[in-house]
Amino acid sequence: MAYDKFNILKSSAYPLPIENVDTDQIIPARFLKATERKGFGDNLFRDWRYNAQGTPKEDFVLNNPRYSGKILVGGKNFGSGSSREHAAWAVYDFGFRCVISSFFADIFKNNCLNIGVLPVQVSEEFLKEIFEAIEKDPKTEIEVNLPEQKITLISSGRSESFAINSYKKENMLNGFDDIDYLQDMKEEIKDFAETRPF
């Protein structure tokens, strides 16, 4: 599924300073029953966001009107656990285009890159600084510059560069995905399959 191109994103952010946020929290299993990719944003962090009766928990960050923006800032080891891509969809469908953390779980990171959410890994110190800046001023802005692979905290001017391989970067910049790439390799793939013993 194609997604919007990503270039430079300047936005305020939601802070979630919790470590080891697993994909069961991002989207609980009971919301994986759809056969279409629709409406997952409503259930993003469902059990942290709503109580059992379905009323919003006011102290959870996504329910707090002080915060806004297209960036989610999470604690270390963000997205561990289940491989469900629904977690990345929920993040995207809620309106996030970028997740910042000091460490990401593998599959979640991959899933994000595949659907147009940019995972940006920063140092522990910078992450702390970002959390502090948001706490001080919820409207504080962060600039994520994909072409230059640079993330800047506007208020302090501090910035850090982040890593992304050039293939994925091209994809994100153009809104392409891997299937578009593989479609051009069909003959090569067929020839290779012939050589497999099983």
């Binding site: 299993a29 270390k76 390799m185 793939i189």
Partner: protein, 464 residues
């Protein structure tokens, strides 16, 4: 050049290397189920393309299937829709489909090995993170997201950077009552849930060589819980013995040819890993988790660690203990529990039921504990009956349910109620994993059996 087992299998599947990008990796076998595949098929339809090699994909229904009355229509409308979508997509694209009630049906990671779909030296993927299970056979197997499921259906390849390599070696002999599950929980408690992120793990040493194929599957299954992409063990005689004659295993001269190749599948003596860990078998005792991630595990005779001893996030640690209703420094043994779950692709195979039966034989189920015994597949269910295990279970007051993922992820009706404690042989103790508000203690089938009899966290070594 000397290579690791992982290098040998990975490199043999790379069709193209993209500079400063991923490898294009050919996938031999692809397993799908009802939850992570419908959107992938929808994607194919929107692009107007078909499945490139339907004979390399296998479909089973497991994630949200009921574990009782499987002969009746599925009550939950959304689940029924997913099951129907799987069946229709499989039919439309010519993919083998083992739906509810089919004799080959069961949890995707249990039926793969059972049917010879899982083979040494193969690349295997599935839209479920515990695909790492199949690494027990010397395959490279890992979980993928739905976009990648679509990719494999469309082009039989995925695009992944090659992971780094880790070896975990454990020599020595495991003590009585210490099972493969304990070995895995022990490793995760040492490495933490992110300790192997970015790596592919090879398990080596006496402990894994001595282990049965079922045990190896349990260990490889849990690789993902320390963040690893997957785990694998070099194939040996036990492996070949296990796969021989199964439905999709090569036969005749194809078998001979394959065997020649499979025998080369081991790490060369001077091959180098990016990182290595060594542990001692003697240090491992039956394990149990006390927190909300699989890294929060301790020996069953130990006390819950103080937050001072824990590296990193003290507040996260306390949040976790609060959720569990446990205190720092308290004993795990003796804690009252409400549910026991034996099953899942981690511990839902025949050996796990044998272990459970060994403890409960001649005893009675604790009256106030609800116990769900869920075989990993119909074949396991069949074997439980044939071996007389069912009689032992029934006499002790237990009932057997029908195969499926069940309370491992609680997508069906098998949900642990809020606040209740469950000793589970599955793989994840995340908040709400087994139902909103549920509290999970991960452990081996032996620990689960001991708890089912006493109604408390109990050291199974006292009952062997």
């Amino acid at each position: 050049m000397s290579n690791t087992l992982f290098d040998k299998v990975w490199d043999a599947h790379v069709i193209r290397k993209i500079e400063d990008g991923p490898d294009v990796l050919f996938i031999d076998r692809h397993l799908i189920h009802e939850v992570t595949s419908p959107v992938a098929f929808l994607g194919l339809k929107n692009r107007g393309i078909g499945v490139m090699f339907p004979e390399r994909t296998f479909a089973t229904a497991d994630h949200n299937t009921p574990t009782i009355n499987q002969h009746l229509p599925v009550q939950d409308e959304l689940s029924a829709n997913q099951l129907k979508a799987l069946e229709e997509n499989a039919r439309e694209h010519g993919i083998i489909h083992w739906g509810l009630g089919d004799e080959n049906n069961g949890i995707v990671h249990v039926i793969g090995p059972e049917n010879g779909i899982t083979l040494p030296g193969a690349t295997i993927v599935c839209g479920d993170s515990h695909t790492s299970t199949h690494g027990a056979f010397g395959a490279i197997a890992f979980g993928i997201g739905t976009s990648e499921v679509e990719m494999v259906l469309a082009a039989q390849n995925i695009m992944q950077p090659k992971p780094k390599k880790m070896r975990i070696r454990i020599d020595g002999e495991l003590a009585k009552g210490v099972t493969p599950k304990d070995v895995a929980l022990y490793i995760i408690s040492k490495l933490t849930t992110s300790g192997a992120t970015g790596y592919f793990v090879e398990y080596a040493g006496d402990v894994f060589e001595d282990m049965s194929m079922e045990g190896r599957m349990t260990v490889c299954n849990l690789s993902i819980e320390m963040g690893a992409r997957g785990g694998m063990i070099a194939p040996d005689e036990k492996t070949f013995e296990y796969i021989k004659g199964r439905r999709f295993t090569p036969k005749g001269t194809d078998w001979d040819k394959a065997m020649e190749y499979w025998k080369t599948l081991k790490t060369d003596d001077d091959a180098v890993f990016d990182v290595e860990y060594v542990f001692n078998a003697e240090d491992i005792e039956p394990m149990i988790t006390y927190g909300t991630n699989p890294g929060m595990g301790i020996g069953i005779s130990k006390k819950i660690p103080d937050s001072e001893e824990i590296e990193g996030g003290k507040s996260t640690y306390q949040k976790s203990l609060n959720y569990m209703g446990f205190d720092e420094g308290s004993e795990m043994a003796g804690k009252k529990i409400d549910y026991v779950f034996l099953g899942s692709c981690t511990n839902g195979r025949i050996e796990d039921f044998r272990a459970f039966a060994q403890i409960v034989k001649g005893k009675k189920k604790a009256e106030d504990v609800i116990v769900w015994l869920v075989p990993g597949s119909h074949k396991v269910e069949q074997q439980i009956k044939e071996e007389g295990i069912l009689d032992i279970l029934n006499e002790a007051g237990f009932e057997l349910r029908q195969p499926g993922c069940s309370a491992c992820l609680a997508m069906n009706d098998d949900k642990i109620p809020a606040g209740k404690y469950s000793v589970s042989t599955s793989n994840r103790n995340f908040e709400g994993r087994q139902g909103p508000g549920s509290r999970t203690l991960l452990a081996s089938p032996l620990v689960a059996a001991a708890a089912a009899i006493t109604g408390k966290v109990t050291d199974p070594r006292e009952m062997l």
